[in-house]
């Protein structure tokens, strides 16, 4: 007995913890056409949109997976699921530079941050958020770093073009402006912004960073 396409898709997504890209879905569901798969995805998405659903279709890192809805987070709190600790500020800064400027060498990152990043690089490597892309053709042949697919999953991006464009900081250029928009204010306070920071609402606004200064290399997986 065979299931409806949408059911087969759901079972597949349930059984696979990592996001499945469209090609994989097609391989895994060889009896379905591309359109049928798209239709099944749309139908699952619609079904999960109901307030009776605890699940959602999580579109991330070029693929799709099942995940719990953010609203369910409180209900899951008692599960005490172990997760990696939040990234430190230095790690985030380093990661941001690598993400926007990849491929980039350690020395180049250090030039931007103004500090040594050995320890931070190690952490990022061990957490699988960055990867080594090769070596730069220059004296000393330093290693080149870039972000990994795990980076996309960790931050919930489909691909690098979803990174928000780098913003200039009007606040600093025009210091007297009293009413500067909060999210543009340089943060000095050590504490994190509220969990649901609006500035993070990004993807919609994501313009693929244009000009030569913000290369957005494709993930090669």
């Amino acid at each position: 007995m065979s299931l409806e396409p949408v059911a087969a898709l759901e079972a597949l997504l349930f059984a696979t913890p990592e996001p499945l890209p469209p090609e994989r879905l097609a391989e895994l569901l060889p009896t379905l056409s591309g359109e049928e798969i798209s239709a099944a995805l749309a139908s699952l998405k619609a079904r999960y949109a109901s307030p009776a659903s605890g699940l959602m279709l999580d579109e991330v890192a070029g693929g799709v997976r099942l995940a719990t809805r953010p609203e369910a987070a409180e209900s899951l709190a008692r599960l005490a699921i172990v997760r990696p600790s939040r990234l430190s500020r230095p790690a985030l800064e380093t990661l941001a530079i690598i993400a926007y400027r990849q491929p980039i060498t350690k020395a180049e990152v250090e030039a931007i941050r103004g500090v040594n990043i050995d320890g931070v690089l190690r952490t990022l490597g061990e957490r699988g958020l960055i990867r080594i892309l090769g070596r730069k053709r220059e004296p000393g042949r330093p290693m080149l770093y870039g972000t990994s697919r795990a980076f996309l999953e960790y931050f919930g991006f489909q691909d690098l073009s979803e990174l928000p464009t780098l913003r200039e900081i009007e606040a600093l250029v025009a210091p007297s402006q009293a009413s500067r928009p909060a999210e543009h204010a340089p943060r000095e306070e050590p504490e994190r912004a509220a969990p649901t920071a609006d500035s993070a609402a990004g993807p919609a606004a994501a313009v693929p960073a244009g000009s030569g200064s913000d290369p957005v290399p494709e993930e090669s997986g």
Partner: protein, 236 residues
Amino acid sequence: MVYQVRLEQFEGPLDLLLHLIRIHEVDIADIPIARITEEYFRVLTEMQDLDLAVAGEFLVMAATLVYIKSKMLLPAAEGEEATIEEEDPRRPLVQALLEYQRFKTAAGDLAGFEERRRRIFGRVAPLEEAPARGPLELSLFDLLAAFQDVLKRAARRPDVEVTPRPFRVRERMVELLERLARERPLGFLGLFPADADRRTVIVTFIALLELLRQGVVRVRQASPFGEILIYPLEEA
């Protein structure tokens, strides 16, 4: 203005400078360098008073500030022939600050995304998985971490040698074996083209010696003063 700053709350000298620029409400495009330098030193001094080690990067920046300040005091274009446009000595610093600020903001964005993602839970991978045949997913970091562990374990057992062979030599050994698989025997002199640099010659020679030592290849000389020929083990 009385304020207290703690150096360790800054990610580095650029961060500290941005902080000073902001709290003093000065224009980043027109930094009053004397004043900011003074403030910068005050913070460093406070740090030292508190017996905190001031990282080298902070001192390098201090030197840069002093340098800029002195440049700005000099009369313009002295003795220089055709200084069409005297560069503002603050300019590189301002650019570095703006650049750093952009990424600091971007880091804040990432923190927001991170926070949102922490409310979403995927499924835990089954602990035992059937051996998969799918596309390989291999991280260089994982490979290196594995090697680190091997090295660490081997350190307790002096009888085995794990230290990597020098890369050039290793590479050349592999190359020689590859050539031998295609063409045998190899002429000794042919290994050293006339245009090869010293380093290449040495590396090739060491690689050959290593292969000989390991018994992977043999050399033969058909006649006294004849050419030395290199064979893979199977033959010869």
